[in-house]
Amino acid sequence: MTVTPPTVAAETPQRATRRFRTTKGRETWAGLAMMAPAGILLVLFLIIPVILAFTLSFTNARLISPNPPRFVGLDNFVRAFTADGVFVQSVWNTFLFALVVVPVQAGLGLLLAVLVNRRMRGVTAFRVIFFIPVVTSIVVVSILWRFLYQPNGLINSMIDTITFGAWSGMDWLNNPQTALGAIIVLSIWQAVGFHMIIWLAGLQTIPEELYEAAKMDGAGPWRQFVSVTWPGLRPTMVFVLVTITIAALGLFVQIDVMTQGGPVNSTSTIVYYAVRKGYEQQEIGYAAAISLIFFVAVLIIALIQRRLTREKD
């Protein structure tokens, strides 16, 4: 078969199909070309690291080492759950943190959203104020609150004033009983505004007529909330719960800046421990195994939440 130049091809009887074919070919080519930069970057910095995390977790790889990584099977996973008390403690701390932060932050965010979801003078200013901690870096927030939590710091002096000196305060971050709680408080304070905005967006999708109809039927504010607002917020709720849970499980910066996992590992978390093992102690293989355990936990929880919140529909 001879190769015909395009100009000649255009004059042959099959020109319609030919043109179609070339147009389609060009579209495929354009699509691939425009997908390529993002595609290559995602493969390099997302897909390959995910595969690496998976494969390294079965080896004894070290960050800088003269010996090549050796396959060790499930050793890292066995070690994590049976021979590493700090890891188990970190898992426990992480879940405890999420268990408190998820409902409190979601609930408080909803309360704030309901408060500011009305047309009133100055309401925009309040929305902006509630959102300010979200745009403040968590590193800044952690350093700032570390200062507030000092034994002679602002938090203790405020408690002292409010209780008229009945309560003398404590060293919040250096007490294993209170350190995690102190970090929970500042974490909620920092991120609750973000979820307020998400709830607010959800609230505004509920049609005004529904409230008017409810009022006609004599429903008070609480009845309106239970019968109109809450059912209308179901899709928003799924999103809020999943994002807070994943964010809460990833707790790292606050720990790194405020307590370094102490006192006596009472604030060590899964991610903090993985970074400490993998980066500071260079045990990449073991850290990859911890990361993989973390990822599986995130996945399971996200799936459970999806299912639980869907079932009732």
Binding site: L32, M35, A38, L41, F45, P49, R118, V135, S291, V298
Partner: protein, 319 residues
């Protein structure tokens, strides 16, 4: 915001109506007013809870250490009174190269966000408006990767980037070497492509009528021209949303540069601050540093407040 419907005094007609059913209206009005009072009271309490640490930070950054500790026991802690000066700020600049840290953070943020807008919007265009085989598979993979938290790949990624080839200039000769640690590119390149940004662009672009593409194609426009001349100009809100959602994490990056950047002259502000914080506990200076890197973001936020809020809202509605 003002809402005229809720104003108690609605002019002559309102007054006439009010006097017609005086008794019920007066009690209703009183009830509504107390309701409003409690709302404002509740919102004000929350506002104080959200603001007090930041007010304390800005105010303390202006005071000498001794006075900060002295003022803590009184409301003076929140007032810029006493020995006020910018000495702490000068102290910060003397002690660490803050200007360099700021430059690094601005450079990394601008490049990550800017290149991200181009790369991710092109991918979104390819996925939403071009018919090519395999695009549904690609889109499904991209959506699936949204569940991968960065924390889970951070450590393997250090191992990975430490082996990537890079070009270096050594004694005037361009050579290639291995290892991306301690570079600018390691802080930028891995974060350009972003699955969530691609997803948002894909969603937004698919709402633009396809007939526009067809018309442009009849006029002889190529696909890239359609992207650049038709889709991009019509997608301002999508670009603003992605820019805002990628700006904050890029500026606030901490875990990643902590691991891959040890050279002081390449550090971004957040990591620079952590080192600064460790070598020095003069709280006044620490508060000056934190104020210094918080103020620019706060100003950007207050100026573009409306866009910020709608971007965050857009990210949630889709979920």
């Amino acid at each position: 915001m003002t809402d005229t419907r809720n104003r108690p005094d609605t002019g002559a007609r309102g007054r006439a109506a009010a006097s017609a059913r005086f008794s019920t209206d007066a009690s209703e009005k009183r009830r509504r007013r107390t309701g409003k009072f409690f709302l404002y009271a509740a919102m004000s309490v929350f506002a104080m809870i959200f603001l007090f640490p930041l007010v304390f930070m800005f105010v303390s950054s202006l005071k000498p250490d001794a006075q900060i500790l002295q003022d803590i026991d009184s409301p003076m802690a929140f007032l810029p009174v006493g020995d006020i000066s910018l000495d702490n700020y000068f102290g910060v600049f003397d002690r660490v190269p803050v200007a360099q840290f700021l430059f690094n953070s601005v450079l990394v943020t601008v490049l990550t966000v800017g290149l991200g807008l181009i790369v991710n919007s092109m991918a979104g265009f390819a996925l939403s408006r071009l018919a090519w085989r395999g695009r549904f598979v690609v889109l499904a993979i991209i959506i699936a990767t949204l569940i991968v938290p960065f924390e889970t790949i951070a450590v393997p990624m250090v191992y990975w980037v430490a082996q990537l080839p890079t070009l270096v200039i050594e004694g005037g000769v361009l050579k290639y070497d291995f290892g991306w640690l301690n570079t600018y590119e390691v802080q930028i390149v891995p974060f350009i492509a972003n699955a969530f940004s691609i997803f948002l662009f894909t969603q937004y672009f698919s709402t633009i009528p396809k007939s526009l593409d067809e018309a442009a194609r009849i006029d002889g426009a190529g696909w890239f021209t359609i992207y650049r001349r038709i889709i991009v100009p019509l997608s301002g809100p999508a670009f603003a949303t992605v820019a805002i959602l990628t700006f904050l994490p890029a500026w606030n990056q901490y875990l990643w540069p902590l691991m891959v950047v040890q050279r002081e002259e390449l550090r971004p502000v957040m990591v620079g601050m952590q080192y600064f914080f460790q070598l020095n506990t003069a709280w006044g200076e620490v508060m000056a540093y934190t104020s210094l890197i918080t103020l620019p973001v706060l100003i950007v936020f207050l100026v573009f407040q409306r866009a910020f809020v709608s971007s965050i809202a857009a990210s949630g509605v889709k979920g």
